[in-house]
Symmetry: C2
Subunit: 249 residues, 2 copies
DNA sequence: CGAGGTGTTGAGTCATTTCAAGTAGAGTGG
DNA sequence: CCACTCTACTTGAAATGACTCAACACCTCG
């Protein structure tokens, strides 16, 4: 929505004002950039991973497969996301990280966080808060998978993706959605076949239009009639954040 | 496993050494104590909640219900847990909080965190890390619900509960498990009926013994043969934590 | 033009749910 | 101490939503 050079700064600025110093701290995370092709595995679960990543461009997802191949997609990552916070307390990565499109990632070492932790309690609070927002989205998906029918699950995910993208993109006239139906199914505890049936149905009913890697939700309000959905990216309560004052250098 | 007065300190001490100052900061969170009876709703989703809670005694769970009553249990809370971090960035609570047993909670205001954020980057990192561990447990349950059969889901949850309890209790010869089958089902995306069938089967096969509100898993290794389960509470990688040095008062 | 990835559609199968009835145990009050 | 009540759990039979299997259509890319 804004003209920040960094998607991360753009995303976070939706929720709290960032000081110059905070922006500098964040900029350090994006000093290095690496490119990966589509359908590429960046790392696998169980590997030692010392880096976190800021997503600069492209779509990725984290997933984990059981021995017999059954796969669960855990998170879907968009530009501005920080990938890897959940792996932080572990020696080995929890999940596979795979690209859906060509991608640019900015890797930075775990240690880089300690500067933020030590120098900017306020930025720490913001990162923590956003991490909790993502957890809230996860809770919502848990409920979708655990307690909703196939059609509801799909509607829920589409609304969720749209609401996340709205932080950095215009989605009113459609948006890029480069996830195939197998990935969508694996995110929702469904098969690609069920996803296909639902999406075909939704398109025939006229609630959405699909292109390849592209989706237009005509009216989110109408789609919301098919499922209980809660917006999580609206406002943050920042009242508990520490004040700006802190150690500096 | 240790003789700390506070379950919270006991739990966190499993993962990192706490300085005197850190322990004092944590003690402040437990100054106030309130009691609630079993099967009581502490707060409901959508209410404004300005407090977080440290669990001192008893079992609780967070859940969320759809309009038609379908309910998803999101988290199960034990002594030593901090309840409410996921609600932090929101004005209104995300979930209902209900007790399964008589409970003692220590409420503390959101604002209390800013002292920790400002004064102890290291403790902040620890709390953040533990929050990510809980998120990892959540990911595991997401996979269980999304991609496992009823029997696997139940085995997974039982192993998960046991491994959590091991942080503060002896579980070798059984442990208290005051969750009825409806709650277990709601945590796993199953009905109470399915849970009953699975548990009855497991008991008949001799892998576990049940009492009312009590469970003995004879051999976790044997139970693990029925499901892929990963221990998440083992060690934390604390290498990225900021050093002790920080502002003080 | 062939290959591979992706999506669609139909028919049959199956795990879990739903519905329903019944048992067991804990707590209460007469 | 015995009904009485309530909640939790069990068990069977029938219903069902999603899965599996399989064939086919479409598109992109080399």
């Amino acid at each position: 929505m804004s003209d920040h050079a960094s998607c991360l700064v753009a995303k976070l600025s939706n929720f709290a004002e960032l000081t110059e110093d905070d922006q500098r701290l964040l900029a350090r995370l994006e000093e290095d950039t690496r490119s990966y092709p589509a359908n590429h595995t960046v790392f696998r679960g169980g590997e030692g991973v010392d880096n976190l990543y800021v997503v600069k461009r492209g779509w990725l997802f984290s997933s984990s497969a059981l021995e017999d191949g059954r796969r669960q997609v855990m998170m879907i990552h968009n530009p501005g996301d920080i990938i890897g916070l959940p792996h932080l307390p572990f020696r080995r990565s929890l999940h596979d990280l795979s690209t859906s499109t060509p991608v640019e990632l900015c890797p930075f070492p775990k240690d880089s966080l300690d500067t933020i932790l030590s120098r900017s309690p306020r930025l720490t609070a913001l990162l923590f808060a956003f991490s909790m927002v993502e957890q809230a989205v996860l809770f919502d998906r848990l409920q979708a998978i655990g307690r909703m029918r196939a059609r509801e699950r799909v509607c829920h995910l589409l609304l969720s993706l749209r609401s996340r993208l709205r932080l950095t993109n215009d989605v009113e006239k459609g948006f890029s959605m480069p996830l195939n139906q197998t990935v969508i199914g694996d995110a929702l505890g469904l098969t690609n076949v069920s996803v296909s049936r639902v999406m075909t149905g939704l398109e025939q009913e006229g609630v959405l239009t699909r292109g390849s890697s592209w989706l237009w939700i005509h009216s989110p309000e109408e789609l919301s009639q098919h499922v209980e959905f809660e917006e999580r990216y609206a406002h943050l309560d920042t009242s508990w954040f520490p004040s700006e004052t802190s150690a500096s250098t």
